[in-house]
Symmetry: C2
Subunit: 87 residues, 2 copies
């Protein structure tokens, strides 16, 4: 599993490093990541309304930036549905 | 990212399917997964005390089985530390 985990960390960092804080995703970075990397898992990944809604549902401290763990939560939720593992 | 996510889902299912409920990890399945798959990310992965402690910290409803999302939380926490992304 570790090679796959390392891929996810590296790709998060690539997108998070594009502007501002290099350890968090701004809305623009999040949109860019979802639209290019999560096209199967997130329906309508290129719809700004979908991105807005996802971003606000994940950004628990509401600062406009997603931490790795906030982002990780999204992947887990969509992956569990995709994999038929949600409760 | 989706290929890496699919690897993690598939490997979770492989371990979860070994006994009992095929969608959750028993303690034995969790131990087997951690000791074989997370040797870098989890220190002392073969120590039963470490496994006991991790399992009880993750098993939020305390039923002795880890769901995918409970397990996902663990990976996110250790990955964020490993990747220098923890707050």
């Amino acid at each position: 599993m570790e090679p796959a985990i390392n891929v996810l960390i590296a790709q998060f960092k690539t997108f998070a490093g594009k502007d501002g804080s290099s350890n968090t995703l701004s809305k623009e970075e999040f949109q860019s990541l979802v639209a290019s990397q999560l096209t199967t898992l997130v329906k309508n990944a290129s719809d700004p309304g979908v991105i807005d809604q996802l971003m606000s549902s994940l950004d628990q401290n509401n600062d406009g930036e997603l931490t790795f763990l906030e982002f990780w939560q999204l992947i887990g939720t969509v992956a569990s549905k995709h994999g038929g593992l949600s409760q």
